[in-house]
Amino acid sequence: MPFISPTSREVSCKIVYCGPGLGGKTTNLLQIRDRIPAGSRGKLVSLATRGDRTLFFDFLPMDLGKIKGYTTRFHLYTVPGQVHYEASRRLILRGVDGVIFVADSQRDRLDANIESLYELERSLDRQGTRLAKLPAVIQYNKRDLEYICDLTLMERELNPLGFPQFEAVAIRGEGVVDTLKTACKGVLDRLA
């Protein structure tokens, strides 16, 4: 549930990027950082290993400014994709308001996508939240690569709930903003 403080006139919403390891979650966040004016974003915090794999999380605060007197912020997080980081994932998903699932379109990553989606649902279940009840967006990333899954197949396997979906090439910034805007608007709709 977004944090709304009538006392301090503040609204904060938390959006978490999930998905399999090396799928492009951090790349999404880096592209978003580069597309937001400096005054509207905070410091990008990245807890990564030396090999640039996300160890704990990445975090980017995004400021929408004052809206109807409320300072309005989105806090964007990524969680590590590797299955064995379940504990970190659970911690970051605490209090999540919206989810972006970044799927890797490469054929040999289909099983990893399915497993990651299952892990996400399990982590949410453990904190009493259902993915179906959250504003969520599926991003089919790496659409520029050669050996990729057919979109119909990915939709069938990864999006039975019919969430909004976007094709993306995150490394070039394609589809990145549309994905985030749709997730943010899904969260904002709940505040109306």
Binding site: P2, S12, R35, P37, Y70, K181
Partner: protein, 158 residues
């Protein structure tokens, strides 16, 4: 995310933090949420980027919690990051809140711990009471949502 403290609870908590800061000779004292939010801060924190500080403190405490369970402890209540000039002491207040103390060479870790130990029960009481009476605000109205949507479009250039 977070607890919206009413004015009276906010003043009560702030006075505990102020007293802690002055008696521990700390630079700043912060009341943080375990999910990464900042509830309030007192002292010399104007040069500090509070948002990442709070998120990283919450992450440290969460990691400590997992470490504790690995060795069969229910929790590690406190942790310290000791620097050459500046140090940070973190201690959980309850299931939701963390107390953060930023201090330098003008004081000692022992004194900070001692003063936090005295302040913690008072803060717990205030936060317990505030949570009992807290009714979360769930909506801000359609006009807010509409303007926020427009603002979002503007942020990314339409």
């Amino acid at each position: 995310m977070g607890l919206d403290l009413t004015e009276s609870f906010s003043q009560a908590a702030e006075s505990v933090l102020e007293k802690l800061k002055s008696t521990a000779f700390a630079r700043a004292v912060l009341l943080l949420e375990k999910d990464g939010g900042v509830t309030m801060s007192v002292g010399k924190s104007s040069d500090l980027d509070l948002t990442p500080f709070s998120v990283l403190s919450a992450a440290c405490v969460s990691a400590g919690q997992e470490l504790a369970s690995l060795v069969g402890e229910s929790e590690f209540r406190s942790m310290v990051h000791q620097g050459e000039k500046i140090s940070v002491y973190l201690e959980t207040v309850d299931d939701h809140a963390i107390l953060g103390v930023i201090f330098d060479k003008t004081t000692t870790l022992g004194l900070v711990k001692l003063r936090v130990g005295k302040s913690r029960p008072k803060l717990r009481l205030i936060l317990d009471e505030a949570r009992k009476l807290h009714k979360p605000t769930l909506t801000v109205g359609t006009a807010f949502a509409e303007e926020a949507r427009n603002q979002l479009d503007e942020l990314f250039g339409g």
